[in-house]
Point group: D2
Chain length 356, copies 4
Amino acid sequence: MAGNSFGTLFKLTTFGESHGKAIGGIIDGCPAGIELDFDFIQNELNRRKPGQSKIVTQRKEPDTVEFLSGIFENKTTGTPIAFVIYNTDQKSKDYSHIKDVYRPSHADYTYDQKYGIRDYRGGGRSSARETASRVVAGAVAKIVLKDIKITAYTSAVGNIQLEEDYNLYDFNQIEHNDVRCASPEKAAEMINLIKAVRKQGDTIGGVITCVIKNVPVGLGEPVFDKLHAQLGKAMLSINAVKGFEYGSGFEGTKLKGSEHNDLFNADGSTKTNRSGGVQGGISNGMDIYFKVAFKPVATLIQNQEALDNKGNLVEMQGKGRHDPCVVPRAVPIVEAMAALVLADFILLRRQESKEW
Amino acid sequence: MAGNSFGTLFKLTTFGESHGKAIGGIIDGCPAGIELDFDFIQNELNRRKPGQSKIVTQRKEPDTVEFLSGIFENKTTGTPIAFVIYNTDQKSKDYSHIKDVYRPSHADYTYDQKYGIRDYRGGGRSSARETASRVVAGAVAKIVLKDIKITAYTSAVGNIQLEEDYNLYDFNQIEHNDVRCASPEKAAEMINLIKAVRKQGDTIGGVITCVIKNVPVGLGEPVFDKLHAQLGKAMLSINAVKGFEYGSGFEGTKLKGSEHNDLFNADGSTKTNRSGGVQGGISNGMDIYFKVAFKPVATLIQNQEALDNKGNLVEMQGKGRHDPCVVPRAVPIVEAMAALVLADFILLRRQESKEW
Amino acid sequence: MAGNSFGTLFKLTTFGESHGKAIGGIIDGCPAGIELDFDFIQNELNRRKPGQSKIVTQRKEPDTVEFLSGIFENKTTGTPIAFVIYNTDQKSKDYSHIKDVYRPSHADYTYDQKYGIRDYRGGGRSSARETASRVVAGAVAKIVLKDIKITAYTSAVGNIQLEEDYNLYDFNQIEHNDVRCASPEKAAEMINLIKAVRKQGDTIGGVITCVIKNVPVGLGEPVFDKLHAQLGKAMLSINAVKGFEYGSGFEGTKLKGSEHNDLFNADGSTKTNRSGGVQGGISNGMDIYFKVAFKPVATLIQNQEALDNKGNLVEMQGKGRHDPCVVPRAVPIVEAMAALVLADFILLRRQESKEW
Amino acid sequence: MAGNSFGTLFKLTTFGESHGKAIGGIIDGCPAGIELDFDFIQNELNRRKPGQSKIVTQRKEPDTVEFLSGIFENKTTGTPIAFVIYNTDQKSKDYSHIKDVYRPSHADYTYDQKYGIRDYRGGGRSSARETASRVVAGAVAKIVLKDIKITAYTSAVGNIQLEEDYNLYDFNQIEHNDVRCASPEKAAEMINLIKAVRKQGDTIGGVITCVIKNVPVGLGEPVFDKLHAQLGKAMLSINAVKGFEYGSGFEGTKLKGSEHNDLFNADGSTKTNRSGGVQGGISNGMDIYFKVAFKPVATLIQNQEALDNKGNLVEMQGKGRHDPCVVPRAVPIVEAMAALVLADFILLRRQESKEW
């Protein structure tokens, strides 16, 4: 079925396989008259790009986005905005050995079972390569969101973990280290861990924290399209994600209501914010903050036992290029998905303006 | 906007406020020719009903569901199945004191900001009362799912917590204690904790674990409607939910890939199941299991400071009836949402059958 | 599949069979704070009701609509508005003779083929009874539309036909004759024709013209959800409809562009209006006008040859009650569908307001 | 809003303006494992191409479609199929004179009112150029439909008109004349008329008839997504379309039920087919046939009065290239839209297979 669209009014539809001709997407419903900053968009895409540092995958790609429609004299026209990123640095021969093999904890097996056919090169459509399209669309969404500020950062890698309270950290630090961590000290520890893991041909997981500030009140569409529910779906749709929690999350389940409730200030803001900026599925103006859990990705350089499509267990060595830890590269993807969710709810909100 | 529908092919639309005339819903897209067991459906609804035991809210309602369409001679016709549950035990005067008051950590404030008007009685549409409709639809979905078995249970209340491995427990125990816990020993502890909290006029949170067995391979629609992403959205849409994780969840982020990967057996099943039955967003036939975090609900009997709609902070005492812990009652709701998600994906799956 | 919803932001989902317990629907996405006039809504429903005059079906039903949710102190809350109309005057025994028989040009055969089961009484879900739900929702939509004025009337029955130009007629005449025709003279002719046809146990078709005034500019969502395309779908979904044309319609295909184009006035209005108020799928502020063709309905009192479900051709006499001409009763249904379409586009329009 | 998608399970999203970089689209939900015939697809696109004969627009474009994803070793993978057609033969300077001018009966005015900005070159997104994307997707849909045969032809130009009964004509004639008319004699008349009109710098309208054979029973999703209603919406979304009728259409409204009803044969087929292959919104296995009315397009070479964006009426001469009659070029577009509709319903049908 058609599961490749996200959003109702601000809607992104993506396409593209890891080793196909191109990846890209169509943004439908972007309001008209908005001036696009193409340097900003390309820069967001660069943040996700592999080959940025020694700790991530060594696949070098220009990853240049080209817009094909929906923009006139640098402004959006309200018509669909299509964009494409041509795949230029594929090593297809790296994957020939898995043509008939299902790698453990990859999507190879399930894609073959579901579709009866799969583009096995580099994981095909299941590859995280398709997230580049999300980052482009997320960049457009960020421009649409204007003053709403979305910031994500790596808050854990393996057992190395930051404090819960994001207010302790200086967000300006995030882009100044290779793991996009808000704490320079922890960043150094994380980098060492990732290098060690990489040497072993292994991978490690982590957690991303995202904070959204300057959120207007009233975003979210109960009872099924609650703001935090749609954020959760957005994050869980990113490759390797195993969990989502917002506000007080899983830890908050241990508290009593008298300890957990956020009391009001006279102006409608709250003294504390365990709610995470959402009440009854609707934004209340306070910061929205949430955490996204990333498993260690399945592609190892180590030997592993795999299954071939004839039912034989076979020894397989991971070749090609891989990320020992995808979390730093996922930071802009988390921000992009948050931007897409918010842009959609902002548009949905306008139609119920009390000035009817 | 219209945020009150869930699903694409098996679609539920619900209606109803806590103290309105009735709640209910329409199930559209249920396949035709399926024999409905009305006792089963009523029983599922009864599981959610308040007033079952001393530890939950004392609101007594028959909660009888009445079907209005879509069924002929006890079989579904393929036309919309509408159902209604009349509200009979409302104490509207219990809520008059909050007519102009926003209770902390409730949806009062955000609903008023968003809509400019709210039915304040019992939380109106934001009340968990609307989940009764989900349970009815979920029961129909369970019938449609036939051999797929969905079982949820309380795995934590406050600091009292079960082991991670659900295989350690006997699911037959779940319905034999008031907290729907799979461990009788832990159940007793939980009940004592809840009673103590109730005496204080306070509330406590917890966690529900859900296990789905006999899942066919191939369910899920990448890249945005991945099976686990839609499950996450479904769970997060339930009142008081603050987090969702599946498979190895947040804990698994600390593992290495070599420790985390699930190796294959020759028949396509896996030796371990940290994946949680989903790979690349598509079911692989292994058990799907996930956890849902519930915050302590915001309605306390204790005094709290609230905000009125003129900007004054006022002292408020919770009246009416409340749940010290909603987790036991949420168990059938979690199962119902899981059933709705799976029924939808089962129908979506049929259209890509390899026998084209 | 779920084909029982109409609209994106202002969305109606209906349910109900002709001889089931009830029919009704849920309106999701109606803006909050709108005061509903229940007399107006009931009156719209009465306009559609059978048994109003000697020329229509003699099924007498109170057809009283009851609202179950989404309204508080007479105002919409922005939450789903559910309504139900209980079926009270069914003569189920009238239809027992067709339990295993497919009547010619009815939906009996196709429903049985598609679903494998059908509620045969009175046509089940295929009966025009379900349009009562549309009229209720359309009435709510009309209230939302405020000054936008939707007026439909019978412009042809059989060969009796009004002039094309609706400006020649006084719309106040429409509700003053049994055929809802804007010309009293033609109305009398139509009534005589229908009576004659009724005596023969036969049926006759006709055409409804609809005019929408005070339409704001900018409604419609190209390229697939063009305003006139959605109007067309709405009208074609009404029972017995065989055609839709707007503006100059089929006749205009014979003109040259120089004869057909609408030249501008300085203020943006046009001197002529062959466009029918829509350009490029978007409203331009001029009257929207269109015609809907209704075939003679298939239920006759005469004998006809039918097919039974074992493959035998059988003689069948139509029993029960029937309409010799449904066109007068369809007038409020056409208005209701037009209102639903416009309400949806009005809400969609708000989100692209140039004041971004 | 996002009005640029068509379909639910087999979904097409298009993009592109007349004078932008490219047009194209994404097909999401095409079943996997289907072998695509790229020559066939390119040929379908060529049928629509301008510059084919002296009677149509003289814009010469290679109109070559390039596929970017969703296909592996010539088979569909079940992942989104993206395609692009680069615009190569644009004469942007031809349109500079209308930068600030609204041409009568064009979409210039409404687009500017709705979006506040428009790509004025060649009509931007409102141009029929975007229908090229529909033809590509329709070609893929035709392949998916296998034995279902869709054939459209010009049945009227101005006052020159074919007989109603399509069985009188030899469909093999359609591609052998420049107007795609099924009657060689009428084709010659039509060509002469169009040439005469072209000399005058004027345009003329017409009608297309479409016949669909080998339709399985059971397609269509009542009550709102009836097969003929969705066909109507599809056709009405094509540029210049003013009307849609199927089966007996507007003429049938003059018949009596006893004259109009289609009596059964013992095998479920019908002796006559005024229904047009659809009953109760569901296909019954008989031919589906319908007519689409095309107004004379608004772009003339003659002088016309237009409106500029400052409120002045100005004299304007049409320049650039234009079609005196778009009907012949629209024939493949009508077929393409019919294919998209049927493919979607075929997929929707599979999920209610009686073998539940």
